[in-house]
């Protein structure tokens, strides 16, 4: 029993009294800068001062002040400093196996993934799966499955595959290892929104989203811009590409489910910013992002509406952009450049002056 002596355990967490004393001042400090909601102008600051909740500086989740750790990401709230915390991107798996029985997801990396009951990348607790059962290779969205001479065999689709022969498998295919049944989901294939491309992914219009995977359906539908393209955020430098700006409301973030998703930039928050274009102009609003939204060197306060003017320099994550209005006037009745553009032009309302829609889409 001596080797399990609890006194040798854990980093100190302190007494409850000490914890709340340590957290209380932080609640004010973090709350004032971080907690303002997107729409309000400090209206909620009062509530923050009461100390009812604290917004996690890492993941932005709200947790009662009495808690030591963030209820979502587990961050030790008392350790928050003045510096903003840069959150690395969640690694998007190259492919996933989804357990048909309980929906549990097993991630597959690009390259070789071993599958079995002991010490493998995909670890399956099921008696009919061999210790080293199979090997799954993911390369540029192509997946092959190879049985390693398992006792109970491997099926790809309906077909039992011979051992030691890599067999191709496609997105959505059922796989069976022993008695363990899973569905293969490949990133970027079919329903799963593609995170592979470097250019921003504009959300697919509602009409084309009917076949979305369940996971995607669980998320709220992305905000759909309602009008024609009026301007472009032209990339000056950084990992992301130009962002076309349409009339209406567009959300920008790293996650799928945004109008514009920028999965390649780890410094972009899940929901980072919103661009609203109406007949008074185009506005950029920071949604409480971790690493902020900067216009002409000035960081926007969360929720602040910043009017964008021709030539403004905008920084989102690691990329800098120049805000440029579209030059061409929309041609009445001209065929749209793409299905996306067609969908986006529904209910188009031409802007009175400088903002005029063109059809250069996401060139």
């Amino acid at each position: 029993m001596s080797h399990l002596d609890p006194t040798r355990a854990m980093p100190p967490t302190g007494s409850p009294a000490a914890e709340s004393a340590a957290v209380a001042p932080i609640a004010g400090a973090v709350g004032v800068t971080q907690q303002m909601p997107a729409t309000g102008l400090g209206g909620d600051a009062y509530r923050t001062q009461l100390g009812a909740t604290i917004t996690c500086p890492v993941c932005k989740a709200t947790t009662p002040v009495s808690e030591t750790y963030c209820g979502d990401c587990g961050f030790l709230l008392a350790s928050a400093g003045a510096e903003p915390i840069e959150v690395p991107a969640e690694e998007t798996p190259a492919a996933e196996l989804v357990d048909m029985a309980d929906g549990r997801r097993y991630r597959l990396r690009e390259g070789i993934n071993t599958l079995g009951r002991q010490g493998t990348d995909v670890l399956v607790n099921e008696g009919t799966v061999s210790r080293h059962h199979a090997r799954i290779v993911v390369e540029n969205g192509q997946v092959t499955v190879e049985d390693l001479g398992s006792s109970n065999g491997t099926k790809v689709g309906d077909r039992r595959i011979p051992p030691n022969q890599p067999t191709p498998a496609v997105h959505g295919m059922p796989l069976k290892f022993g008695n363990w049944r899973v569905t293969l989901e490949i990133a970027g294939a079919g329903p799963v929104p593609t995170p592979g491309a470097a250019e921003p992914t504009v959300a697919v219009p509602a009409s084309e989203r009917t076949q979305m995977a369940e996971a995607s359906q669980a998320q709220p539908a992305p905000e759909q811009p309602t009008g024609p393209m009026v301007a472009t955020l032209q990339k000056i430098e950084g990992p992301s590409d130009d962002i076309p700006v349409y009339t209406g409301t567009m959300t920008i973030g790293r996650r799928a489910g945004n109008t514009v998703s920028l999965p390649k930039d780890p410094y972009i928050s899940g929901r980072h910013a919103t661009i609203v274009t109406d007949n008074t102009g185009t506005y950029l609003i920071d949604e409480g992002s971790t690493n902020g939204t900067v216009v002409n060197g000035q960081r926007l306060a969360p929720g602040e509406r910043q009017l964008l003017l021709e030539g403004d320099e905008v920084q989102l994550g690691q990329s800098r952009y120049r805000f440029v209005f579209s030059e061409q006037a929309p041609v009445e009745g001209a065929p749209p450049a793409s299905a996306e553009a067609a969908a986006l032009q529904n209910g188009a309302e031409p802007l009175p002056d400088e903002g005029e829609a063109g059809d250069e889409a996401s060139a």
Binding site: S79, E90, R131
Partner: protein, 457 residues
């Protein structure tokens, strides 16, 4: 009662190490006896919880900029102090009286039952069910008023024909269940003894083990006592595992009374039952596996059930996490929540602990902060996996006796280094059995079972 310690070495005759019994604990003599305890004495004790919970990460640090794997050990420590009266027990002796039990075995079974009857206190409840082709309720569940009369009944036992284990087990569970409404706070347990494969009634592993799992949800556990060389060790260990009971391999009939007595003593010191450990995972944290367990995976939760915990013992649950990239800083990757029925105060209690890691960019911090306790537990868990592999290798004849001996020797060394002397001795006994050309699977299954229980003295 005080002669207990004197009998310790007795039935083993010195020739067989006590550990081949597969008994999880061997030093019964040091345990406080609770039978004469005066409940009034403990009333003055300050309130303290029956279980202490802590969670120890395998390393205080993890690399912030990469996806990493790390172990964490949940330690459930039952206080050694007697906080009150022991929980009364409601047990059913479920006895195989098939033809093969004829002679010595049945005589020793009768003696074992005598022991049990003698050990029971007025509040305890006993039932006896026997099975062969038919199932008989020798004694329905009741408090024992006249011990001599009960023993007289037991001694009239005779052998029959086949082995209808399933129906016997069901009848035993029904006896336990029949008095459950009147016995809140009792420890409910079937002691299933068999010496052979099921040969009548439902015989397949899945039907039996699934029924056992269902009984577990009603609060009934089964301790599986496998006797002789003919019983199905996979089935018996499976029954014990799914129901949170103990598993014993009893090599010789003369060991029967001793094993029954030990099991009863174990039951009488249970302080926490229906123990569940739940990991509430933070974002960027997943559980890959919980060693020796079939966890239930939910959205950001992973739950395992832990066998009943005895006073003064420690149980461990070892989990492997996969951690996504984090910003540098201190994070709780999981909150560990434990719920259990406290049999001392007859309430459902909760306890918890945090699994906290510091994410860093400094790799040198990791090398210097490996936790030896967790490392030790990991080696024990891997020893269990090695034993399984060795056993399968022998069974499928892909491993020679020499190869198996080498593997076992390696595992034995690991176990000794990890402080598992009892288990190491079992492995040694298995090695001797191989050398004499005997069947070792029952011993090894017992060792694996005990290792996976995560039990420490």
């Amino acid at each position: 009662m005080e002669d207990r310690t004197q009998q310790m070495g007795g039935p083993n005759g010195g020739a067989v190490p006590p550990t081949v019994l597969g008994v999880p604990r061997t030093q019964m003599g040091v345990m406080p006896t609770q039978m004469g305890a005066n409940p009034m004495q403990t009333v003055m004790q300050p309130p303290m919880s029956t279980l202490e919970v802590e969670c120890i990460p395998g390393n205080r640090y993890a690399m912030a900029p990469e996806v990493s794997r790390e172990h964490a050990l949940v330690v459930l420590k039952a206080s050694g102090q007697q906080l009150g009266r022991r929980a009364p027990i409601n047990i059913c002796l479920c006895i195989d009286r098939s033809g093969s039990m004829e002679g010595e075995p049945l005589e020793y079974v009768k003696r074992a039952c005598d022991y049990v009857v003698d050990m029971l206190e007025p509040n305890d409840i006993l039932s006896i069910v026997t099975f062969e082709e038919q199932v008989d309720v020798l004694m329905p569940a009741r408090r024992i008023v006249n011990k001599a009369l009960v023993k007289e009944h037991i001694h009239r036992l005779e052998v029959g024909n086949t082995t209808n284990l399933y129906d016997g087990l069901m009848a035993a569970c029904m006896q336990i269940a029949s008095v459950m409404p009147q016995t809140p706070g009792y420890v409910h347990r079937v002691l299933l003894l068999t010496d052979g494969e099921p040969t009548a009634g439902l015989k397949d592993y899945n039907s039996i083990v699934q029924q056992v799992a269902e009984q577990k949800t009603k609060g009934i556990s089964v301790t599986a006592l496998g006797f002789g060389s003919e019983y199905n060790e996979e089935l018996m260990a499976g029954i014990a595992r799914r129901s949170g009971g103990n598993y014993y391999y009893i090599q010789r009939p003369d060991l029967l009374p001793e094993v029954y007595r030990r099991e009863l003593e174990t039951l009488m010191t249970i302080v926490a039952k229906n123990v569940r450990v739940r990991f509430l995972l933070s974002r960027w944290a997943q559980v890959r596996q919980v060693y020796g367990q079939q966890p239930a995976f939910g959205p950001r939760t992973v739950e395992v059930t832990v066998p009943d915990i005895e006073r003064g013992t420690v149980r461990t649950v070892l989990a492997e996490f996969e951690l996504d990239r984090h910003p540098p800083g201190t994070f709780r990757v999981a909150r560990v929540e434990v719920t259990y029925d406290d049999v001392v105060n007859n309430r459902t209690e909760r306890a918890g602990a945090d699994c906290v890691l510091e994410f860093t960019n400094d790799r040198s911090l990791l090398a210097a902060n490996v936790n030896q306790i967790v490392r030790n537990e990991l080696e024990i868990a891997q020893a269990s996996q090695n034993l399984q592999r060795t056993m399968m290798g022998m069974r499928t004849q892909q491993m020679t006796a020499m190869g198996a001996l080498q593997e076992l020797q390696r595992t034995r060394t690991v176990l000794i280094q990890a402080g598992q002397a009892d288990r190491a001795r079992e492995v040694e006994a298995a090695m001797q059995t191989i050398q004499s050309g005997g069947d070792v699977e029952k011993t090894i299954v017992g060792t694996i079972y005990n290792l996976d229980q995560g039990k420490h003295k």
